[in-house]
Subunit: 113 residues, 2 copies
DNA sequence: GCAAATTAGTTTGCAATGCAAACTTATTGG
DNA sequence: CCAATAAGTTTGCATTGCAAACTAATTTGC
């Protein structure tokens, strides 16, 4: 038999979304029309390097769109979530929610003992 | 500046728990006193190899306890979650719940409340 | 006016990870 | 006795995430 009930959903989680750094990026993007690279860098605490590479993966997966332009004479990178990105995030959220219902109540055992 | 509000919690997720296969294992263990290796294998759909290595990591991290014995003449491996394991799982659940509150409502756009 | 520092990122190098396949070691069936 | 099964463990490898190094343009200091 395969995995049981909703718990089994955990194995189907989208690894592209599941990575904490990328989940954070997607979450921030989902709440704004467009976000600047530098803003995300501050927001996330990620180094430019890590942010850049996670950004590239999300872009490669079609979950975000990256626009490069200039502000004055300096380069400016802006990110925005795509419809596919929103769907992926929503699906991820649903799966996690399903899993969490099966997880033990966080309050249980807290005041035991 | 650090990450904002509850969203930033995502970066503090316990990677040992965050891995889907291990989360599944912990979730199953949390609902039973003791679980046999073979049962988990069926339950999770993981190969014996993967299960074995995830098991070892959880054990190394002190989140589960592994007892080896014999049933009749065959080896029998049983797993059970430790108090630390329960705490880790509860903490993980809390952090995720906090993050999910900030995530966009999956129903948004589908139907207004 | 040109060397140094800053801005805005990308690329590289590496250690750690997850997964599948191969490998034990013991037991049972023909 | 030989093959097959059971119950796991170990190995090999391709992928990852992260930090550090690098690039390239711009602005500042002297």
């Amino acid at each position: 038999m395969s995995t049981p009930g909703r718990l089994g959903e955990v194995m189907a989680l989208d690894r592209l979304v599941h990575e904490p750094a990328r989940l954070l990026i997607l979450a921030v993007l989902s709440g704004a029309k467009e976000v600047e690279f530098g803003f995300l860098e501050q927001m996330s605490g990620l180094s430019k390097g890590n942010l850049s590479s996670h950004m590239s993966k999300l872009e490669a997966g079609g979950l975000i769109e990256v626009k490069k332009s200039f502000r004055g004479k300096r380069p400016l990178t802006e990110l925005c979530i795509t419809p596919a990105g929103r769907r992926a995030l929503a699906a991820y959220r649903r799966q996690l929610a399903a899993v969490m219902q099966e997880l033990p109540d966080p309050a249980a055992g807290t005041k035991r003992r």
